[in-house]
Every structure is written in structure tokens, then in C-alpha cells.
Amino acid sequence: MPLAHPKPSRTWPWAPGTERGIGLYVHIPFCETKCPYCDFNTYSGIEALIPTYMAALRAETARWGDLLGHPRVRTVFFGGGTPSYVPGAEMTAIIAAYQSAFDVMQDAEVTLEANPGDVTVEKLATWLKAGVNRLSMGVQSFDDALLKMLGRRHTAQQAEIAYGMAREAGFTNMSLDLMFGLPEQTLAQWQESVERVVSLGSEHLSLYGLQLEHGTPLEAAVRTGRLPEPDQDLAADMYQFAVERLAAAGYLGYEISNWAKPGLESRHNLMYWRCESYLGLGPGAHSSMFGVRFADIKSPRGYVAAVRGMAGARPESGPPLTGRDIVFEMKAHGPVDFIEETTEPMARAEFLMMGLRLAEGIQESDFRTRFGAGLNESFAGVISGLTDDGLLKSDQQGIRLTPRGRLLGNEAFRRFVEAAEAAPPTDARI
């Protein structure tokens, strides 16, 4: 939604900026083939655009670095799309670009999403050398029939081989993705997949319940009855199985869909859940800082054009831009296409709905720091209602979802979002 008035009448006082170090998200909108369940902003068949696109990405990176004053970067995440699909040299170049544009911390977490079908010894070596230190592989399932239904271009065996190659190459921090609640997926198939990832010993696991997104071929197949609708109770059983099995294997379920060996949580994703600052680069990539959320234009071609336009419109000399003016500048003369001012009620809603996804939940002290009031002052009704329904636990430290609440998270999020947006801003801080 484009913004009518750049300056809000009332600004939420505590808006995270770049001081504490930001997260960097780099979007690679290319996939060899489009998976039928996927509604991400990614395309197949536009490979010819890769070199131009990667150049635009480097230009955007440099521009942000300049405008933001080369801030510190704590984490980097190459997502997509399929970052593993583009040539290794392109990855090396983009990494070099952000390293010169930003102050990347020594111990920064640098994750790259890889498709098991793309992994080669050469690519692995290139990534490692360039500075990637965490590999996230979309395995999705260890059942070949399900992999086929999901349109994945690898088999279970290939995934295991790719995983072994990555270990061999020297990746010591790895994450694997699995999907459950799929049409035709049985509990036994799921258990088998969980057992296989456990035996592989990946440091981190993401288990995603399938969401049938409107407009995807898989959704159409289910809607028209070509595939059975996944049973949500069965999906709950699958989730329950994973919760128990992974706990026994020494994983911490630190977020609704994510498990990690102690200390190996995804630091990048934690920044989203904790509503910290992050900058997204590339088409459709989302960012949050200075109390605004914003995103680049969605179309890769439109993005390339917008970044090209940026070169011709350097601001006239004068004092450097600060804070959200930088974002408005990138909207006026750059690829930013969407800006949403985060009002205080919105910020509260987002802080709650994101933070509650974490096992640690929302810390009373964090909430107070940001919003100047305690949780119980603002949400006593919602908290007691959810507690009565067995979805939430609250104590001196803060609030968090119960095991049952994790599976029914939307209900808790909805009630908090509704209450957060209905409550007046905490005037004390204004």
C-alpha cells in the first residue's frame, strides 16, 4: 500500500534502528522449476536475467550501505528462490559487495538455502570460501513419491548424498527442511522422514506444515479433488510425533516450526521473531527499521529497472539523510515499492504475534522496554482467556504458548492482534 502522507501524525517512540546490528536478507528469485505448492516470489525460465539481476543486487547493496552509513550486520541469509541455482562466482561477487557495503561482524551467521539437486563439490567449496557458514537444505521429505508430488527435482537418496557432501566440504552448521500435512502423506511416512533427519544429525531442523496457498497448482489439485485434502488432525499427530522424537534426540523446539541443537538456533530468523531490524535486498524482499516496514518492487524485471534508475538520481549534496528519510529516498529514487508506517498498536501486535512463536515467548521486561507498559496492564483479558483455554502460560517472566497453544497459535495471535490494535497507545511514552 503506497503511503499518502510520509510523516505519520503520531510516531511510535521506540523504533529499532540499525545500531544493534541488522540482519541482511538477500533474495534470489530463480528456481530451475517452480514447485506446485510454492507461492514465493520466484520464477523459473528467466535464467537469462541472472547476470543483470545479480549486478542490480550489488548496486542496491552498495546504495543501502552508503545511505545507512555502512552499519553493522549480524546475520546474512540468502533465500529465494534457490540461491544454490545461480553460478558460484555470482555468489562470491554479491558476498564481496555486501562485505564492502556493510560492517559485517566477525562471527556473523551467513546462511545459504540450497536445493539438494544443485549441490556440487565445487559450489560447496566456493560458498565456504566466500564466507557462507551455514547451509539450509530443502529436503522436504524422504519419500520419493511425495517428493514427486511436491515437484522436487531430487530424490531422498540425492538429498542424503548432498548432505554428506556438504559435511565433507566442511559445513559444520546445517539445517534441513521437512514438510508435513501433505496430501496422501501417512503418519508412517512422516515418522520415517523424521527418523532419517535425526540420524543425519543436522544441527537445525525446520518442519513446515503444508499451507495450501491460493493460486498454486497444489491448492487447485486439492480444491478440484485430484488430491485428497490433508487431514488436520493427522497433521497434528505428525507434529506431536516430531515434538517428542526431536526432544528425545536432543533438539530444542525453540520456535513453532524450528528445532536446534542447543546454541545453534537460526540467529537470522530470531531477528524476525524478535522484531529487530533487518534489510531485505532484491525483489519483494521485506525490511523493517526506523519504525517502518518496507519492501522492494516484486517483479524481478521491474526491480532491475528501478535499480538502474537509482544510478541517475543521486541526491544533491547536503547533509546525509537519516532514519526513515533514507527509506523514503529509496522509494522515491530506488526499488522500494511498499512502505508501511508501524504505529504503536501495530508494533505491539507484531511484537506479540511474532514473539509468541518462540518457546521463550515474550519477556515481560522486553515488552516493557519497548512499549512502556507491562503485559498484564495491556492484555489482562486476553491472557486470562487464553490461559483458561489452555493455550498460554504466564508468570513473572512473561508469557509463552503451551504445547497445545503452539498448534493453535493463530487463535492466540488473533486475540492478541485484535486487542493490541484496539488498545490506545501507551501515552506515558509519548
Binding site: 513453532i256 516450526s257 508501511e340
Partner: protein, 613 residues
């Protein structure tokens, strides 16, 4: 037009026997509508009529006809609906006429509404011209049909015409016979104005439009008129006749049928059945109005959006102008808020009213299950009438509950007597009598009536038993051959109980039903299982129970929801997630609440709708 050269007649018949189609031919032959403007069933002017292929409203049209005698005549034709639910339209039309064309489909013979309508016409002393219609059809049996008419109603063979509304055969003869047999109107042109309002409609510019037939005197533009029943005076903005669109005229005189634009904004000032006279020169006595109607079926009508309650009231009042059979009064429900209890002549009528409210007035409605009207004798001797099941008194206070019974007439080929008998007795019906429509011998075999001989069966049966799907059952058990008609036949005591539906232990008033004890178990189970299928799972387990006076007779459980959570965070697009949750929260706010159970509006409506199918 000279009074002696006016002929007023209507077309009556069983449903689908070709009234509107024959009217088309009369319109064409007389040239009342230009060929390029002509449509099939031209007098079915409502969208709803055209979509359903049936006539719902009686519709008048004026025709100019030059007869074989060389003289010009004015014909006022009223096409009437054939379906039982709209028979009130027929009886009001009859009162505006001196003659009636009675059509009988030559492929079907006399049917139940043929009988009902001819009796109505005879009550009004109309000249009846019987016509065997659809003679062009291969399956037509014109001679057999004529014989049936002779035997059933005592007409002479030479009085019976034959025609085809499709080909136009016989139509010129019909016109001549109307001139010859139907008498001119008998009013007194010199007497003070008396015009009977047989229908009306609301026009945003011209106020209430009264559709009248002038009995005595005349009415013209800018006359000051008085409505004798309500005592309200009005200025006539315009008078005119039907083409079938409204066409302005100078005046309406004795016998003429047309409209009077009253400019009245208050719809309650003008009632169908009232008499219009001149304010300055008032008639001494009003015309006999219409017999008050007894609605057969009742339902609660509620606006989906509670704020539309005043709009619904206004819509009902305006619609009532154009549907004299509609009755309503305010009521309220814990589950549905404020609404109206409306009474109808049947389920089709109820359906049509709902659709008209939605289409013509933009209302969005929820209707409760149809109910009949019960008379409850309390233990203290008092009597109350209950047409809303949730208002049924406590069982302990009830001495006796009486339900309406109807007398039904079924016409069918003899071979289906068995299946019909079975259907009727299965629904608590009682046999009254049986008659053969034709003489007891058939020309073919000269002996006993054959399997195809047609009989008239009469039964008494509780009205509630024929409301839902009885007619469909009758049709399917007789391969579509049987037709039926019904008339109220008083109340009788029965073993009637109130079935309550409890969702999470809370009774839902809008779902209560009154029914015979023998049906309670089955209906209770059905309702509970439907609710189970339609109410989405909640955070907690929800029991659904059907109960009679506190005793649970059926039970289902909706298990608690187990999984509802968004999986993946798409990049850092938190806005999209938040908006999704906001939208869902907004949707939840609009849900109906039964205690702490949230039920989407659509599910609630689906439960109520299913109840009728």
C-alpha cells in the same frame, strides 16, 4: 368506451396449463403489443417469474378488439398464477371480472387446481368459458379432456372450445365467445365513484399506486379521493391502464381496470381490498373487500446484519403493498436478534417473498425453519396461539396442543392409488373419499374403470406433514401424474412436542421445532448431525444435543480443534501475516455466538436452509 362494450375476464387454470402463453396470443391477435416488443409469457413481467417459468403475480392488460360484428370493444384481461400458494391472487382477480377462461391442458386433463379455481370462479358468479388447451401436442387428447370437463362440471359439449396457445389455433373464436358470452360490467356511471383496490405497488415518485377496478362512477387526474377503509384522503396524481406497463389515461370509468397514483407515502394508508371514492362526493357504502387470509406457514425473518432491522421493516411494508397475502409482526430471538415473524400461504410463497426482499430491496436475510400455527390449551384453561416454536409454553403448563389440519384433494390415475395411500398414511393422514372423474365405464372395455382412469382422492392430514417435500414425494411416486390442492380444515389435538437444540448446553431458540412425537427422534438426530457438520471446530469440545423437555434424545460431539497455525514466515513479510490475522479476527467478530461457540453466519444459514430441503 361505452360500458356495454367493455369485457373483463381472467384466465384461470392448473399450474402450467398455458395461461400466460394463451394470453400472449390474445395480445398478439389484438395487436396490443408491437411485434418487436413481444416476449414469451409477456405478462410474466417479474425477473423471478421469467427465471422460474411460473406466474407469481396476477397481471392485467387492456386489449382493443374489433369484433366480427364490426364494433370496437375494450377487453381487460387478467392473467393469474396457477400455483396453490398464489390462489389469493386468483380470487382477487376474479372479483374484478365478469368472466373467466378456464384452461385445461389436453395432455393432462383436469388437475387439482382446475377444480379449486373453477369453484372460486363459480363463487364469484362468473361466466366460465372452458377451453381445452395445447391441442397441438402429440399427446393431446382433446375429446377425452372435453368429456372430463362435461362430466366434472356439467358443461355442454358445444360450450367447450379448443385452442393452442402455441400455434394460436382457436384464438379468434375465443375472442368472439368472450364478446358473446361474458356480460358487460354492471356498474352505475352516474353514481359516486367506487373502485375496488385489488393490488398495489410503491413508486418512489408517485407514492402508493392503487390498482383498481371501477365499479361505479369515474376517477380522473387531480381528483381528490378518499380511501373508505382507512379514511385517508389523497390527490390523484395520475390515472391509467396496463399495457402491461403503466399507460397514462384521462380517466377510468365503470368496469375499467387500471391504476390510480395516490401520492401517498405512508404505505399503511392504502390497503388492498379497500374502496376508493371521491372526497367531495362520497359513496354511502364501501364495496365488499376480500376475505381475510389465514397464513399457513410462518417463519422468522432476520436481517443478517442487525442494523438493517429498520430497513427490513420498510421493505416488508412496501412488499406487502404488492403482495396482499404477506403478513408479519416483529419478534426477537436470542440467537438472531430483532426480526419479524412472517406468515405465508405456502413454502413457495415464502421463498418468493424472501427472494423479492433480497432482489428488490437489497436485504440479506436469515430465515428460521417454517412452522405452522398451534393452538395450545394451558392447564389453567387459557388458550394461546403459537406460531414460533421457541415460544411454546413449558410442557408442564400445557393441557393440550392442537395443530392445523388440511383437507387435501389429489387427482391421479387409478394405478397410483396404492403408493399415494401409503404416502399419506405414513404421514398421519386419514382417508376421506375417492371418486372417479369419468363415468365408471371406459369406452374401450365397457367394464370396470381401467388403470388409467382418473380418480379424485380426498384425505385429511396435519398441515405440518405436507409442508416439507410432500409434494415432491407425491410427484415422484406417481411419475409426475398426480396433482394436489389443499384447504385448511381446523385444528386437532396431537401428541406434539417441542424439540430443542442445545449447542454446548445452550439452547438455540432459532432452531427449536414443534413436531409429532413419532418424528422427534429422527429429526433430532438429523439436526444434530447437520450441526456437527456445519459448525467449525472450536478451541474446546462442543456437545450438540437435541432434547425434548430436558430429556436428551440425540447427541453429537464436535471435537476440539487441534491445529491452526501459520507455518512459514515468508522472508520478513510480517505485514502480510498481521493482515491475515486481522482479517480472520474481523471475520470472527461477525460470527454468530451461541454461548461461547462461534458459528459463521453462513453455517448458521446453512443449518436453517437445510431444514427446508
Amino acid at each position: 368506451m361505452k360500458q356495454s362494450h367493455i369485457r373483463n375476464f381472467c384466465i384461470i387454470a392448473h399450474i402450467d396449463h398455458g395461461k400466460s402463453t394463451l394470453a400472449d396470443r390474445l395480445i398478439q391477435v389484438t395487436g396490443a403489443v408491437a411485434a418487436r416488443d413481444m416476449t414469451e409469457q409477456h405478462l410474466d413481467t417479474m425477473d423471478l417469474e421469467r427465471e422460474r417459468g411460473i406466474t407469481i403475480k396476477a397481471q392485467a392488460i387492456r386489449l382493443a378488439y374489433t369484433a366480427k360484428d364490426g364494433q370496437a370493444y375494450e377487453l381487460n384481461l387478467i392473467d393469474t398464477p396457477g400455483h396453490v400458494d398464489f390462489s389469493y391472487e386468483v380470487s382477487r382477480s376474479l372479483q374484478a371480472c365478469e368472466g373467466a377462461l378456464l384452461l385445461v391442458d389436453a395432455t393432462q386433463g383436469i388437475q387439482a387446481q382446475t377444480l379449486a379455481n373453477i369453484y372460486l370462479a363459480l363463487e364469484h358468479n362468473l361466466t366460465i368459458i372452458p377451453i381445452v388447451n395445447k391441442v397441438d401436442m402429440i399427446a393431446a387428447n382433446p375429446e377425452g379432456t372435453a368429456q372430463e370437463i362435461i362430466q366434472a362440471f356439467g358443461f355442454k359439449r358445444e360450450e367447450i372450445l379448443t385452442a393452442s396457445g402455441k400455434t394460436g389455433a382457436g384464438v379468434p373464436e375465443i375472442l368472439e365467445e368472450i364478446i358473446a358470452r361474458v356480460g358487460p360490467p354492471t356498474g352505475d356511471a352516474g353514481a359516486p365513484l367506487r373502485a375496488l383496490i385489488f393490488d398495489s405497488k410503491y413508486d418512489p415518485y408517485k407514492g402508493v399506486m392503487a390498482y383498481v377496478r371501477v365499479q361505479d362512477g369515474a376517477v380522473r387526474e387531480s381528483d381528490k379521493v378518499r380511501l373508505m377503509g382507512t379514511g385517508v384522503d389523497a390527490d390523484v396524481l395520475e390515472v391509467g391502464y396496463f399495457t402491461p406497463e403503466l399507460r397514462k389515461a384521462e380517466s377510468l370509468g365503470v368496469g375499467q381496470v387500471g391504476y390510480v397514483a395516490t401520492g401517498l407515502k405512508n404505505v399503511r394508508d392504502c390497503r388492498v381490498g379497500d374502496t376508493v371514492t371521491l372526497s367531495a362526493r362520497q359513496a354511502s357504502a364501501a364495496l365488499a373487500g376480500y376475505k381475510p387470509l389465514k397464513p399457513m406457514v410462518f417463519t422468522g425473518l432476520y436481517p443478517v446484519d442487525g442494523e438493517s432491522y429498520p430497513a427490513l421493516r420498510e421493505a416488508l411494508e412496501k412488499l406487502q403493498l404488492n403482495d396482499a397475502a404477506l403478513q408479519f409482526e416483529p419478534e426477537s430471538s436470542a440467537a438472531l436478534g430483532f426480526g419479524f415473524r412472517a406468515g405465508f400461504l405456502g413454502l413457495l410463497h415464502m421463498d418468493v417473498v424472501q427472494e423479492r426482499l433480497e432482489r428488490e430491496f437489497g436485504m440479506n436475510l436469515i430465515a428460521t425453519a417454517p412452522s405452522v400455527s398451534y393452538i395450545v390449551e394451558l392447564t389453567d384453561g387459557k388458550e394461546v396461539t403459537v406460531d414460533n416454536p421457541s415460544k411454546m409454553p413449558d410442557p408442564q403448563k400445557i393441557g393440550e396442543t392442537r395443530e392445523p389440519w388440511v383437507n387435501i384433494t389429489v387427482i391421479t390415475p387409478a394405478k397410483f392409488i396404492g403408493p399415494i395411500m401409503e404416502l399419506v398414511t405414513g404421514r398421519r393422514g386419514v382417508y376421506v373419499k375417492m371418486e372417479y372423474l369419468q363415468s365408471t365405464t371406459r369406452p374401450e372395455d365397457g367394464k370396470t374403470p381401467g388403470q388409467n382412469a382418473r380418480v379424485l382422492l380426498e384425505y385429511n392430514i396435519p398441515l405440518a406433514e405436507i409442508l416439507v417435500d410432500f409434494h415432491d414425494q407425491l410427484k415422484s411416486r406417481t411419475q409426475g401424474y398426480a396433482s394436489m390442492d389443499y384447504a385448511l380444515a381446523g385444528h386437532q389435538a396431537g401428541d406434539l412436542v417441542k424439540l430443542d437444540v442445545l449447542v454446548n448446553h445452550e439452547p438455540v431458540d432459532a432452531l427449536s421445532l414443534v413436531l409429532h412425537r413419532s418424528n422427534a427422534q429422527r429429526q433430532g438426530r438429523e439436526l444434530a448431525s447437520r450441526l456437527k457438520a456445519l459448525i467449525p471446530r472450536q478451541m474446546f469440545e462442543v456437545p450438540i444435543q437435541a432434547a425434548i423437555g430436558g430429556k436428551i434424545i440425540a447427541r453429537e460431539t464436535i471435537p476440539a480443534m487441534r491445529k491452526d497455525v501459520l507455518a512459514k514466515c515468508y522472508g520478513g513479510d510480517i505485514t502480510r501475516k498481521r493482515k491475515l490475522l486481522e482479517k480472520q479476527a474481523e471475520g470472527k467478530k461477525r460470527m454468530k455466538r451461541i454461548g461461547s461457540v462461534e458459528v459463521p453466519q453462513e453455517a448458521f444459514m446453512a443449518v436453517l436452509r437445510l431444514d427446508r430441503d
